[in-house]
Symmetry: C2
Subunit: 199 residues, 2 copies
């Protein structure tokens, strides 16, 4: 059936390449787009091409950026002496959304994973070490994910950076706000109890 | 954060307009596309624009088509005396996939739904009645969905078409192949028993 509609079949094939979108969802999206106006579909196509044309990565911290340096590196009100290391630009966005951090960032673009053959050279770790040498950095916050890979990356970086004599911290473990103890995993409850605070 | 990345924010906004894609999925897709090569993203954009440019609806049956008439209407081997009425082009594809039908189609582009203000004039029903008058049609298979709206549409069309003196049929209800009776809803089991066949 789709063989007689090459441009429809091609759109379905292109949409199927997106993560989490299989053949059925791609077909549903293509039928949806077929019903939208020409200008709406062209707006989506133009947004795709322009995003790719305009966006690159910050030359200092590897956050996504529309210029050589990202808006955080360009912001003189940010604390230049503190660098928060994250795995992905998405993590940076999550931290910014919390309004809990006023320093700069360094985006690794992944985590160490020896089983997948991802070593320090495959991430932005050499660039981080160069920054620690060139810039006057007092504290590094290791905000890699709290997964096996993220923890391993944090441990690896902590040893390296402490060796240079720079303070290394990691966000605290604990019970998320508004959550019911009953539904929190026992390991998190244990960590929260270990680091209990006096009120 | 995204305010400082207008082209990224615009792509997320455009992707969020797609059905079943919310803000979080749109952001995830945009980050995925950011990592793809320029040519891959341009291929998707081109597929969108070309699909919209090339595709329209068949002038006879309102199936999607790259020309004035769809490949089924153009196929002289199809039985011109039988018309299968479906709600959406997707339903037509499902029937074609079954290889169980060799006639032509008529796509209504919806079902009657008085509560949503959708009457016969909002669907391709006038065009179906014109076909029944102009073409030499012997049988109409009403393959609208087996939902309340689909059944109501079938009932409405059955009365109209029987009035013209044309044979009207509807695909049989019953137990799907390979299914366990235990998991079939009681109404379907009842219908399957009512139309039991002698072996």
């Amino acid at each position: 059936m789709l063989g007689s509609l090459p441009s429809f079949a091609r759109l379905v094939a292109e949409l199927s390449k997106l993560p989490g979108i299989g053949g059925k969802t791609a077909t549903r999206l293509a039928f949806h787009l077929l019903r939208r106006s020409q200008s709406e579909v062209e707006a989506l196509a133009a947004a795709l091409v322009e995003m790719k044309r305009n966006l690159s990565f910050c030359r200092r911290c590897f956050n996504i950026s529309e210029g050589d340096y990202c808006h955080i590196c360009n912001d003189t009100r940010r604390d230049e002496s503190c660098v928060c290391v994250v795995q992905e630009p998405q993590d940076l966005i999550a931290i910014e959304r919390s309004h809990g951090y006023r320093g700069r960032y360094h985006v690794l673009h992944g985590a160490l994973s020896p089983l997948d053959g991802i070593g320090p050279e495959d991430l932005k770790i050499p660039q981080l070490l160069a920054r620690l040498k060139d810039e006057e950095i007092v504290e590094v916050v290791l905000a890699t994910s709290f997964t096996i890979e993220g923890e391993a990356t944090a441990l690896y970086l902590a040893q390296l950076i402490k060796g240079i004599g720079i303070k290394v911290t990691r966000p605290a473990h604990g019970i998320p706000l508004g959550s019911d103890l009953e539904y929190i995993d026992p390991a998190t409850v244990q960590l929260a109890l270990d680091s209990r605070r006096e009120l």
